[in-house]
């Protein structure tokens, strides 16, 4: 699915072998789509009535917030980092949007814009700290998650808030009978396919493959880090907005579940933990898998208490698979 970019020779040093973008597409990269189709197949087998665009739209709305967060997470992971602060950003933006969103159209637009700017600013701050201090992204974003989660709790101590009807109807609109979120996903994929080829896209992959090599090739490593964390913050804020409309309420703890699930979605979708490999199309499939698994369990009559176990096992399974594939590759097999 990931087409090769022409990078200069230095990036293709032997140490980075197996992680370069131009790596051959193997069977392993088809796995997420196959799993998704299989789960969808089981659901349709159990509930044939669900074969409809309406249901698909409903599910897409359901998965949209996770998809947005996961895309940001994926880009950060391709760059070689990890972003735990998405949890805090979703909490804060969801709380603010649910509590303070005015009823007028200009009010809605201005408020949404400010929320998006806030998210981007938080992400940018993470990026600046990570690039400047060279501390591990994990710790910095963990501290950031704690801080912004705390801010969300002081804005909105308990679940509540009533976002205006127009805002909800706007985001959940269904032009031509198709959910807006389905269009949004299509648009995101198209934008990604373009961005991947831009200077920014190539830099993200290059920095993730090898910071040293990227630096030697004149790629601004620090700047790339700022950009990916800012993008992740922006997307997490969009997810916060979308969740506000989807749930029609705010929760100061809403974001915490997104941290784990966004990483899982990216990993299931084939994004490498060590950076330099992956893409958002797989991640979108991964997010759908996570959402549909819960449905499948319900239709199979299994208690929903087991769905957490399923998600966790799926993550472990996905990382084990990718690490086994990596090991096999090092020994000369192509999976």
């Amino acid at each position: 699915m990931e087409k090769g970019h022409r990078l200069s020779r230095a990036t293709r040093t032997r140490s980075a072998r197996g992680r370069i973008i131009g790596a051959k597409v193997g069977i392993i990269s088809v796995v997420p789509y196959a799993v998704l189709l299989a789960i969808y197949g089981v659901i349709l087998f159990l509930q044939p009535k669900l074969f409809s665009l309406d249901w698909l739209g409903l599910k897409t709305n359901d998965a949209m917030a996770l998809i947005l967060v996961s895309i940001g997470q994926t880009v950060v992971m391709i760059q070689g980092g990890i972003d735990l602060s998405v949890g805090g950003i979703v909490c804060v933006t969801n709380s603010i949007a649910a509590l303070y969103m005015p009823g007028s159209l200009t009010g809605i637009l201005l408020m949404s814009l400010s929320v998006l700017i806030l998210g981007t600013a938080i992400g940018l701050l993470n990026g600046v700290v990570i690039a400047r201090t060279r501390l591990q992204p994990f710790i910095i974003t963990l501290a950031s998650w704690s801080i912004w989660g705390g801010v969300a709790l002081s804005i909105l101590p308990i679940d509540g808030g009533e976002p205006p009807k127009d805002f909800i109807n706007g985001l959940l609109a269904r032009p031509m009978g198709i959910s807006l979120s389905l269009f949004a996903i299509l648009a995101l994929i198209l934008v990604w396919l373009y961005v991947k080829k831009t200077r920014f896209g190539v830099s993200v992959y290059a920095v993730g493959s090898s910071e040293k090599a990227a630096n030697l090739n004149g790629i601004g490593v620090g700047r790339t880090k700022l950009q990916v964390y800012a993008l992740s913050g922006f997307l997490a804020a969009s997810a916060g907005l979308f969740r506000t409309a989807q749930v029609a309420s705010g929760s100061p703890l809403a974001g915490n579940s997104f941290i784990m699930t966004s990483i899982v979605a990216a990993v299931i979708g084939g994004t490498s933990l060590s950076g330099g490999k992956g893409g958002i199309v797989g991640t979108i499939a991964g997010a759908f898998i996570l959402k549909l698994i819960a449905d499948m369990l319900v239709f199979l009559g299994v208690s929903t208490y087991w769905s957490t176990l399923c998600q966790g096992s799926l993550l472990i399974f996905a990382v084990v698979m990718s690490s086994v594939a990596e090991m096999a590759k090092r020994k000369g097999f192509e999976l």
Partner: protein, 316 residues
């Protein structure tokens, strides 16, 4: 004199930690009379003991350059398994406690196997394991906060011998043991070696994988023991009782001056970090600060500690 100066310089983060916690303690007792009373100090000691015991595992894992994020649900599971196995009966503890500790160590081995033998990044592996453990426990208990604990656990965790809480005695014993292991044994040296440089360790004939496996197993064991003791102290169980320890154990180790990249730090530092965190949370609640503000302050403290420990690491 020169030696003394060198000692201070070398152990600056640890000494800063102890000084900070002492200063915080003085401030709280001024703000809140009765805070430093013998009775309350005993409660603080128990809180410290539990955080300190969990942090033993986190310290060892971080020294090898790893991280254990699965602590919360190993901790919680241990409490629940103990209650299930003992059925609230003190006589059953004789076999229940060893089994629970074995299960906890097994959970740690699960992490260790993924990190050491499959080369999975510790963050992802332990985060995933945490979800798996959480999911398994939710599935087994059906989300019900059932669970009765044997009375003996309360006696053990709340009791004291001639004024000194049992838990404090247990913690101090374990602390001495772990410091001896880290400084005097081959295993301790291997931990530092693996954390400093995996490649060099490998070529020095150290079994890097087995060392990694061992520290995660110990971390599971430490989290399980602390979970059991915590449940006894509380006299009851609830799902999510271990959640706070994901952040606080890392913070305790970081405040203690250990490098999160591995290879530098010691348990004396973690003790200082533990005291700082417990007294700090006492201070925050003495000022009637809500959990939201506490969470914000924890975030900054964690960042500050990591930032300060960034370049100069401790020697062992």
């Amino acid at each position: 004199m020169k030696k003394l100066k060198a000692f201070f310089e070398r152990n600056q983060p640890v000494l800063t930690g102890y000084a900070t916690s002492l200063l915080l303690l003085v401030i709280v007792s001024l703000v809140k009379p009765g805070y430093a009373s013998a009775n309350h100090l005993r409660i603080i000691a128990i809180d410290c003991a539990i955080l300190g015991i969990v942090s033993i595992g986190q310290t060892l894992v971080i020294l090898t350059g790893g991280l254990d994020l699965s602590i919360p649900w190993v901790f919680t599971s241990a409490g629940y398994f103990l209650s299930m196995l003992s059925r609230g009966n003190s006589e059953n503890l004789a076999f229940a406690i060893p089994i629970v500790l074995l299960i906890s160590a097994g959970m740690g081995l699960f992490n260790g196997a993924g990190v050491a033998y499959l080369g999975i990044s510790p963050v992802i592996m332990t985060l995933g394991a945490n979800t798996v453990f959480q999911g398994a426990l939710l599935g087994i208990t059906g989300g019900k906060p059932q669970a009765r604990l044997p009375d003996f656990m309360q006696v053990l965790s709340k009791g004291s011998v001639s004024g000194i809480p049992n838990l404090l005695v247990i913690w101090l014993t374990l602390s001495v043991a772990i410091m001896v292991v880290l400084t005097k044994t081959a295993f301790g040296r291997k931990i530092y070696a693996v954390g400093s440089s995996e490649t060099v360790s490998f070529f020095s004939g150290i079994d890097v994988k087995r060392t990694r496996l061992a520290v995660y197993a110990i971390s599971g064991l430490a989290a399980g023991s602390a979970g059991v003791l915590f449940a006894g102290r509380l006299g009851q169980l609830y799902l999510g009782m271990g959640d706070q320890y994901q952040l606080t154990t890392i913070a305790a180790v970081a405040i203690g001056g250990a490098s999160l990249i591995g290879g530098k730090g010691n348990y004396a530092g973690t003790i200082a970090g533990t005291l700082t965190i417990v007294v700090l949370s006492g201070l925050l609640s003495a000022f009637n600060l809500t959990t939201s503000v506490q969470q914000i302050i924890y975030g900054f403290v964690l960042f500050g500690a990591v930032f300060l420990a960034r370049e100069k690491g401790l020697e062992r």
